[in-house]
Amino acid sequence: MSENKSVKMEFEVAGGDFERAGEASAKIKRMLQRLGIAADIVRRIAIGTYEAEMNVIIHAGGGKVAAEVFTDATEITVTDAGPGIPDIDKALQEGWSTAPEYARQMGFGAGMGLPNMVKCSDKFDIQSEVGVGTTIRMRFEHISEDL
């Protein structure tokens, strides 16, 4: 990759599709590995992206997952035209969840996803409007803590 170039990937994610849930995140992870990004950074990006992808599938009826990899950082943007989040501060609290029973049976719905995205990323931004949808932007600097 040269300075001003970036590598982009974008995926449509279908709502309620648990068979394929996580496929977009897995493909982004493979691309980052191929590009030679350090394993600890790839892991943080994969976890953050997967949490956002699962939210779109569980709470928003589908959306888009996009990755843009620069030399110094990766940006993940996850958008949906779902119901939106009425109280973002509440949603960002650990343990707050409106996940339906079937999601809980699959091991989700602990209200940990958004806090985990904040934790994994270096920059986190959420825009959400009721009846319009939700957009999450995460930036991950390529600064490895691996020796």
């Binding site: 068979e19 849930a21 897995a26 992870k29 600890d40 699959m106 091991g107 602990a110 940990m112 806090p115």
Partner: protein, 121 residues
């Protein structure tokens, strides 16, 4: 400890990944909650779980888990094992319950994933 020691300790059956049993296991997590696995595990952690759906394999992939131990004698479906094999993720099955499996491994010296234990390193 290596995965093959885990296999011995839990008298487990290897469902996939027979060739990867020399993997090193340092930390372990026992949970049916993928939300917690995503939020609290470290790299190369062993996951003991009673869940056998595709999301367990995906979660293992995203968090770089070293292997899965399925408890209570459950056997996951063929497509789950295929996905695990594709990702190079060993899957073991034991008759022990989640509590027992974790207890046996803890007693044998495997650490948990909590931050507190991290401080002691």
């Amino acid at each position: 400890m290596q995965l093959k020691d885990v296999k011995e300790l839990l008298r487990a059956k290897v469902l996939t990944g027979e060739g990867l049993l020399d993997r090193e296991v340092e930390t372990c997590c026992g949970s049916d909650l993928m939300s917690d696995v995503l939020a609290f595990t470290k790299r190369r952690t062993l996951l003991c779980t009673g869940l056998t759906n595709l999301q367990v394999i995906r979660t293992a992939d995203m968090t770089d888990l070293c292997a899965l131990v399925i408890v209570r004698g459950k056997i996951p479906g063929g497509e789950i094992l295929e996905a695990a094999a594709e990702n190079g993720l060993p899957v073991l099955a034991t008759q022990h319950t989640l509590f027992e499996a974790c207890g046996i491994l803890y007693q044998a010296g495997i650490k948990g994933c909590s931050k507190k234990e991290d401080d002691h390193e």
